[in-house]
């Protein structure tokens, strides 16, 4: 899209171009204030924002003489192009008038006035147009040939419109010509006009002609791809930080794409609107043709042609123009006289059909009087016998005693009839019984049982005379069952979602062709979200209880019924649960394996650690880490226990030391109490002085608190003199004795004691270094 010309935008003179900096500056300021005012205008706001954003660039161009001159030249060119556009409109109007073969001076004058140009200019255009006529014809042909064929009707119309014969015109056509060509068009709803305006206004800002072009896809793109592209576009736009008018407009358009292309119907509305908006030009043409309140018949033809150019078929075009003329009160020449002939409706009298009843002639008796006598006898006996089975016996007897004669066939016939009658009677009796049973069953709404009975009957009497009747009864029952079950569904409104879904699904299964299939499908569909939420809660609960199997079942419950995004979501969740289920069982195996190591905590920990390094992604990771932590505690506990046991055995012979309560030792000699174990054993590590101090202050053994650091003397007494406390050599202990702090107060020298055979040694050590603590209290 070429950018705005600043001379035109600032409404400055271009012929000759304005060059006075003061006036240019004033114009910029004026427009800046103007645009700022329009910044929040409902329709012009974004354009105004666009212009406001241009101001620095405008200032730059307009203050540089070279750039400014170029701008002025561009402005003149642009204005000329604009005039060219006006001529295009004039040409269309001229075509209208020329179609009658001439144009009057009065018409030229009116057109000149309408377009604010000289009459001479119009005359010059007329001359040019004659030459362009053929070019125009070809372009119109091109439009029609694009569909792959042309109709004879179109050919004739075009030929007439261009004053040519069909034959001449056909020379320019390179597609087949068909007789009938009007295709049916679906009539849909057009987009809301104000929305259409929003879309068009913003398209103008970004320089595109349609939302399709905006998305960069052909108009034939599938709706799915359109939605996808729209979403992509939306996120693209969002990523741009420079929120200028282009981006703002693009954001709005991307939003519109999502809304317009949300479904086929709405997309169709947009397409229809686009088509309709092209009619505006047509309306303008009609206005020109009706400049004196009357549309000449030649004009009418041309208007129809223009409308066809826009894609209407002929009838549509005609009715559109007529409607518009009616609205604008233009009369169409020729139309007012031409009454439409009414189709005469011919009533066709129905002819009567005569049915002839043919009566079969009597039998001619000749020589076989005897046979006749026997037959008559059989016939009369049989008729007198009400029991049909017995009647059959009479007939069969006749056949066995008489040689085949001319009555044999008749008797066979009679046998067949009788058999048929017997079967019918049986069937009827069965049906009567059935009817009674069915009545009872139906009274208690046992439709299933009823259907089973009917179907069994059909099986029992596959060629029964009542089959059709029974089938219709089955159908009735099925319908009643359908309605009954559907009604039952309606009572489920307040039931739990899963109950409802199950009932609906059950309905569909038992009535695959049910009357309410669509309604029930919709009910299910409507419950999609609710059922999802319902299941999600249960899934959450199951997940919290780590009942993965159950969670999977819930997921499947949904995916069995639905195939939507939620189903996809749940399928994914299901996969996670399946993984968890798998992980859970291998976790259980792992725990069993680890437990088998008993008190070999290191081996157990190794099991866990190996597992973790093999399956770092396992969902049981946290639990495994928990296990390891537990083992570490156990290991620590075991170590302490060992150390305590060891120390106790060492003290068991001592007269001086006594474990007065678990973990606390009384020194009978000094009366002080000490911890059974020193920190190096319990913590397995040494500590700096600050830590040591915190450690003793917070130390609590079996509830005993108030521990402190021993003095050097106390330590020395404790470990050295008179069968001292057992100790591993080489350990250094913090005492409470300190030397003055350094000036910066950051560290201090502390005294430590190293117990040994030849007496404890005392020396100073940096408080940030590491030593052990043996806590003491009174």
């Amino acid at each position: 899209m070429d950018r705005e010309n600043y001379y035109i935008l600032l409404e400055l003179d271009i012929d000759p171009p304005e060059k006075d900096p003061a006036r240019i500056d004033a114009a910029i300021k004026r427009m800046q204030a103007n645009w700022s005012r329009l910044r929040n205008h409902p329709t012009k706001g974004i354009q105004a924002k666009n212009y406001i954003g241009l101001i620095p660039e405008i200032r730059k161009v307009m203050s540089d003489p070279e750039l400014r001159d170029a701008e002025a030249i561009a402005a003149i060119q642009k204005t000329r192009e604009k005039q060219g556009e006006i001529f295009a409109e004039i040409d269309r109007h001229l075509t209208l008038h020329l179609s009658k073969g001439y144009i009057s001076n009065q018409e030229i004058a009116k057109l000149a006035e309408l377009h604010h140009i000289d009459e001479e200019d119009i005359r010059a255009r007329i001359k040019l147009m004659e030459e362009e006529k053929l070019v125009e014809l070809d372009s119109q042909l091109g439009l029609r040939m694009a569909k792959g064929y042309m109709t004879q009707e179109e050919v004739s119309k075009l030929a007439k419109a261009h004053g040519m014969t069909d034959k001449d015109l056909k020379k320019r056509i390179n597609v087949p010509i068909r007789k009938v060509g009007s295709t049916e068009k679906t009539k849909g709803k057009s987009l809301d006009k104000s929305l259409e305006k929003v879309i068009n206004d913003n398209l103008r800002i970004v320089g595109f002609s349609s939302l399709y072009e905006f998305l960069g896809v052909p108009e034939t793109t599938s709706i799915e791809l359109l939605q996808k592209t729209a979403r992509k576009k939306e996120s693209q736009v969002l990523k741009i930080a420079k929120k200028d008018a282009m981006v703002t407009a693009s954001g709005i358009l991307a939003g519109q794409c999502s809304a317009v292309f949300r479904d086929q119907e709405s997309r169709a509305s947009y397409d229809i609107s686009r088509g309709r908006s092209r009619l505006k030009d047509l309306e303008a043409d009609i206005d020109v043709a009706g400049i004196d309140g009357k549309i000449r018949s030649q004009y009418f033809e041309i208007l129809v042609k223009t409308a066809q150019d826009l894609g209407m078929d002929q009838d549509e075009a005609k009715s559109f123009i007529k409607n518009y003329c009616g609205k604008q009160k233009y009369t169409i020449e020729g139309m007012e006289r031409k009454k439409l002939s009414k189709n005469q409706i011919i009533a066709v009298a129905a002819s009567l059909l005569l049915l002839c009843l043919l009566v079969g002639g009597g039998l001619v008796a000749l020589n076989a009087m005897q046979a006749k006598g026997a037959f008559q006898d059989v016939a009369s006996r049989a008729l007198a016998q009400p029991d049909l089975e017995k009647r059959l016996v009479i007939y069969r007897d006749y056949l066995s005693y008489q040689d085949p004669n001319k009555y044999t066939e008749q008797v066979n016939e009679l046998i067949a009839q009788t058999q048929d009658l017997i079967a019918r009677n049986k069937e009827k009796a069965a049906l009567d019984a059935l009817d009674k049973q069915v009545g009872e069953l139906l009274a208690s709404n046992q439709f299933g049982a009823v259907l089973a009975l009917w179907n069994q009957h059909l099986k029992d009497y596959p060629k029964g005379s009542q089959t059709a009747q029974v089938k219709s009864k089955i159908k009735e029952t099925e319908e009643a069952y359908d309605t009954f079950q559907f009604k039952a569904l309606e009572t489920l409104h307040s039931a739990d979602t899963d109950v409802r879904i199950a009932a609906y699904v059950n309905y569909l299964a038992s009535h695959p062709k049910g009357k309410h299939k669509e309604e029930v499908t919709k009910l299910i569909w409507n419950l999609g979200e609710e059922y999802f939420v319902f299941l999600q809660r249960r899934i959450d609960l199951a997940a919290r209880q780590e009942n993965w199997g159950q969670a999977i079942q819930y997921c499947e419950a949904y995916t069995r019924v639905f195939d939507n995004n939620r189903a996809k979501q749940l399928s994914r969740e299901k996969e996670t649960f399946q993984k968890r289920l798998k992980d859970q069982s291998s976790y259980e195996d792992l725990v069993a394996r680890a437990t088998r190591h008993g008190t070999d905590y290191d081996a157990a920990m190794q099991e866990y650690n190996e597992y973790l390094s093999l399956y770092p992604q396992t969902t049981a990771r946290d639990k495994i880490l928990e296990q390891i932590k537990g083992l570490q505690v156990l290991k620590y506990q075991a170590r302490i226990n060992r150390a305590e046991t060891d120390m106790r055995s060492r003290l068991s012979t001592s007269k001086r030391f006594m474990e007065k309560s678990p973990g606390i030792v009384l020194d009978r000699k000094t009366g002080l109490t000490w911890t059974l174990l020193h920190s190096q054993v319990t913590l397995g590590d040494c500590m700096d002085y600050d830590f040591a101090k915190d450690y003793v202050e917070n130390l609590s053994i079996e509830g005993a608190q108030g521990w402190r650091l021993p003095s050097a003397k106390e330590l020395d007494d404790f470990y050295k003199t008179d069968a001292g406390y057992p100790v591993d050599s080489g350990l250094v202990f913090w005492t409470n004795k300190s030397f003055p702090r350094y000036a910066d107060g950051a560290m201090s020298e502390r005294v430590v004691v190293v117990p040994g055979e030849s007496g404890a040694q005392e020396f100073q050590m940096d408080s940030r270094k590491c030593a052990a603590v043996h806590a003491v209290k009174k």
């Binding site: 300021k29 205008h41 409902p42 939306e234 930080a241």
Partner: protein
């Protein structure tokens, strides 16, 4: 009550409405009504001769004096070329906003009989550096000590957290205001409020819904009269329709339809607007909020937040029933409408209260420890005994309970809604923006990266500081906004590819500070971003002077 703490007020400076709140002596956030006794004041400024009128009267005046009235100024915050011209003077968005701030504060002062000096002002989370700076300056022009600019959704979450005694929970704040839309995921815990990520569009709000109604009315007018005139060219008609549209939008939130009269050029047309129609012409706007929400959920997932517990709706525009319905439909969760008009101002007030308690506590601790306030502020340790003592004393002095004082120490952690970086040459030797701080990073944040000079004996490094919207490290220059530049002068004779270290530090309020260091001689330049998009220098001084003299009604 003994001594009085310095009160810090919270102001919600909205696109369409503004309001002010404070925390009363019972520790409860309260909105202060204006002189018209309304709890929200339209953010509309009417220049009436020498007087400046703000609020409801100004809004109604728009019908009669469309050219003297400014509305929706917040949408132009940070736009350098926006100028409102009146009486031969040009007003920038900051100055116009200052009038709105003055009005709400002035009315509150009258109600409470107390001078307002310190304020916390809110802005959309989605505001960039320029817009935030402009908001702060607006406060300064109005004569306030702007203690902090905080994000609207964060403020709403603070208010929500202070009322709803919920357990730990991840909350999605869907804030659809008059002019802006913010979507923010926040983790609310008893001891901390932490923003996880945020996004939005500051050109999407209730006004856009109004505009669609205006368009529909214009169309209807054209259809009924057969006229093709663009009646919005007439400022009177435009303003009239804009007001009617807002009213009918509110009515349509309650009813199925509403009659609207469109009067223009002596013609009067009655339009009956159906709710259905309203939904249809605004559907795309609502869809945009949904898309943005999904964008945020996507970002949150990257940060390990796969779900959220609640959606709370704030901002007046969430009263439109379709918003709630659409959210329920999309996310299968019942959204909570939470104090849509007042939550933000109240949250800001609570934040201000917290600041003033902190101030007071620090002062007390300083006295106890014989240290300066600056020293204490630097090494603030709220768990120390001094702090506990100070809190107890303070509770005794002010009558605020000790728990309330302690609860004010709740940690609030926000994120940046934009990425910040510099223009450098990438591997293909093309100019591109390299982001040093990525959006949705928790603030305050310090980040640095090393870059290299392009040629031997390079004299200068031009550092172009860019703001962008993606979480990617590299972004094309054209999609980012330049928010400032800095020049680092280099010593002579450096070889090519000398390393230059650029540090970005973004504070809690979203203010950016840049340091660049040439490593061979450790030459360092400190760069405070001077944004061009906000009022500065002479213009600012003039605006401040005008504001001091102006009488706002």
């Amino acid at each position: 009550m003994g001594t009085q703490m310095k009160r810090i007020y919270g102001i919600d400076l909205g696109t369409t409405y503004s309001s002010i709140a404070y925390v009363d002596e019972f520790g409860k956030a309260v909105v202060i009504p204006n002189s018209e006794n309304e709890r929200v004041t339209p953010s509309v400024v009417f220049f009436d001769g020498d007087n400046v009128v703000v609020g409801g009267v100004a809004k109604e005046s728009a019908r009669l004096y469309p050219n003297e009235v400014v509305s929706f100024i917040k949408r132009s915050m940070g736009e350098p070329n926006f100028l409102f011209e009146y009486g031969g003077k040009n007003y920038r968005p900051e100055e116009i906003s200052a009038y709105v701030l003055k009005k709400v504060a002035q009315d509150a002062e009258e109600k409470l009989g107390e001078k307002i000096t310190d304020v916390v002002i809110t802005c959309p989370a989605y505001f960039g550096i320029n817009e935030r700076e402009a908001t702060k300056i607006a406060g300064e022009i109005a004569g306030f000590n702007v203690r902090q600019i905080i994000n609207e959704p964060t403020a709403a979450a603070i208010a929500y957290g202070s009322i709803e005694q919920t357990e730990n929970g991840v909350v999605l704040v869907y804030d659809l205001g008059g002019g802006t839309f913010d979507i923010t995921m926040i983790d609310i815990r008893p001891d901390a409020i932490q923003v996880i990520c945020t996004g939005g569009d500051h050109n999407l709000g209730g006004k856009d819904w109004d505009d669609r109604i205006v368009n529909t009315l214009v169309q209807e007018f054209q259809t009924q009269t057969g006229s093709k005139e663009d009646i919005l060219e007439d400022p009177d008609t435009w303003q009239d329709l804009q007001l009617s549209a807002e009213k009918s939008k509110k009515i349509l939130s309650q009813r199925e339809k509403t009659p609207i009269a469109v009067t223009h050029g002596g013609e009067r047309v009655k339009v009956e607007l159906q709710r259905e129609k309203f939904f249809e012409v605004t559907r795309d706007l609502l869809e945009r909020t949904i898309s943005l929400t999904h964008g945020i959920l996507e970002e949150a997932r990257k940060k390990g937040y796969n779900r959220f517990d609640e959606i709370i709706l704030v901002g007046g525009s969430t009263r439109m029933p379709q918003v709630e319905k659409r959210i329920r439909e999309e996310f299968g969760i019942e959204p909570k409408i939470f104090d849509p008009d007042e939550a933000v101002a109240k949250g800001a007030a609570i934040y201000g209260w917290k600041l003033s308690i902190n101030d007071d506590l620090i002062k007390r601790v300083a006295q106890k420890t014989q240290k300066t306030v600056e020293e204490i502020t630097k090494t603030i340790d709220t768990s120390s005994q001094h702090f506990k003592d100070a809190a107890r004393e303070m509770a005794d002095d002010t009558g605020v309970t000790q728990t309330a004082v302690e609860s004010s120490l709740i940690k609030i952690r926000d994120v940046t809604s934009k990425s910040f970086g510099v223009v450098v040459n990438n591997a293909e030797n093309e100019e591109a923006v390299f982001n040093v701080i990525l959006r949705n990073t928790a603030v305050p944040v310090n980040a640095k990266d090393t870059f290299f000079t392009a040629v031997a004996n390079q004299q200068k490094v031009l550092i172009r500081i860019m703001e962008s919207e993606t979480s990617e490290e590299w972004v094309p220059v054209e999609t980012a906004v330049e928010i400032g530049t800095a020049v680092l002068n280099l010593p002579n004779g450096l070889p090519a590819e000398t390393s230059v270290e650029i540090s970005f530090s973004l504070n809690r309020e979203g203010r950016l500070q840049i340091t660049a260091k040439e490593t061979t001689e450790s030459k360092e330049v400190q760069v405070l971003i001077e944004t061009t998009s906000v009022i500065r220098g002479k213009d600012l001084d003039e605006a401040k002077a005008r504001s001091r003299g102006a009488v706002v009604q």
